[in-house]
Symmetry: C2
Subunit: 159 residues, 2 copies
DNA sequence: ATAATTATTGCTATCGTTTGCATTTGCGAC
DNA sequence: GTCGCAAATGCAAACGATAGCAATAATTAT
């Protein structure tokens, strides 16, 4: 697969090595159909070989992120998930703060917004790393929220 | 100050208590002129009273976030900073991935973009929690980047 | 003012992630 | 193939952040 061949190519270019551990982690990422936590990924890696250490999984994920083959998404509450993006068009991610679903969407609607930021602030936004928090279609429909959450969502003070 | 009075009001409303520790943390946040890490905040808190535990600082920051008086910004690399926003208009944050500077900007240019997301994806974006990664004016000018970083920033593979 | 109630604290243990280091192993040179 | 070197690994220790819990202290009722 070309995702693997790109990985191998990148490794060789940098003088890094192709190891069984790295192949396993990449293949597991391929199997996932939604972004997965380290815990999930490590569990699946261990099904293949229980000799692989979790620190190697972390290190491989870092490497894949450097290669832009994987992105990580912060779900808040110290919850982070990883997603293989190598084969896809660049896109941004809508992250539901309620159910943690991640939706990849076309990057183009954001480009005029990015242009405004550049014009007004001289800031060059990196839309491929942009994760947008909010409520997905499903969760938006569900209005039953706990009292605690409701009362906390009040307007900010004035001074 | 009205930020403090809002805090006290919110505490009373929920049956929570105003403690010296909470007052200290809030006053330290007031002193900071840029977003600060827990490490920095805790150091300053200890200058006031070294009896305050770091877990209390964490808990107070959580509480202030629930009250929408404080926001936290993920700088990546497991680096998180906190910023007092109680007195400000809601705005979004431009986060420089190079120097970690955080710039607060007006939320309005993002609203048409948010409208597009709602229309196309049924997703209700929360712009007040939106942090946009990219390069700030200063860092955009500096083209001298390490070879490692340059070679890593290559287009994604096709398949 | 005093007592009762219960939120909050500091301490400790724990969890998830990272780092240091000796050992292993991939990979190029021979 | 074998050798040599440096990258990568597994292990264990360290680190930042969190949770449990007994002791403390802020608020309410008396």
């Amino acid at each position: 697969m070309s995702c693997e061949s790109f990985f191998i190519e990148q490794l060789q270019k940098k003088g890094f090595r192709l190891t069984p551990q790295r192949e396993i982690v990449l293949s597991i990422l391929h199997q996932m159909d939604s972004p997965a936590s380290v815990e999930e990924l490590f569990a699946k890696v261990q099904e293949v070989s229980n000799a692989v250490d979790i620190s190697t999984v972390y290190r491989t994920l870092d490497l894949l992120q450097d290669f832009n083959l994987v992105i990580s998404i912060d779900l808040g509450e110290n919850h982070r998930v990883f997603k293989l993006v190598g084969a896809e068009e660049p896109h941004l991610h809508l992250v539901c703060v309620r159910c943690d679903t991640v939706i990849g969407v076309d990057i183009h609607p954001a480009e005029s917004f990015a242009a405004t930021l550049m014009e007004k602030n001289g800031f060059q936004a990196d839309l491929t790393r942009l994760n947008i928090p909010g409520l997905c279609k499903n969760c938006r429909g569900q209005k039953t929220r706990s009292i605690t959450v409701n009362t906390l969502n009040q307007p900010a003070p004035l001074g």
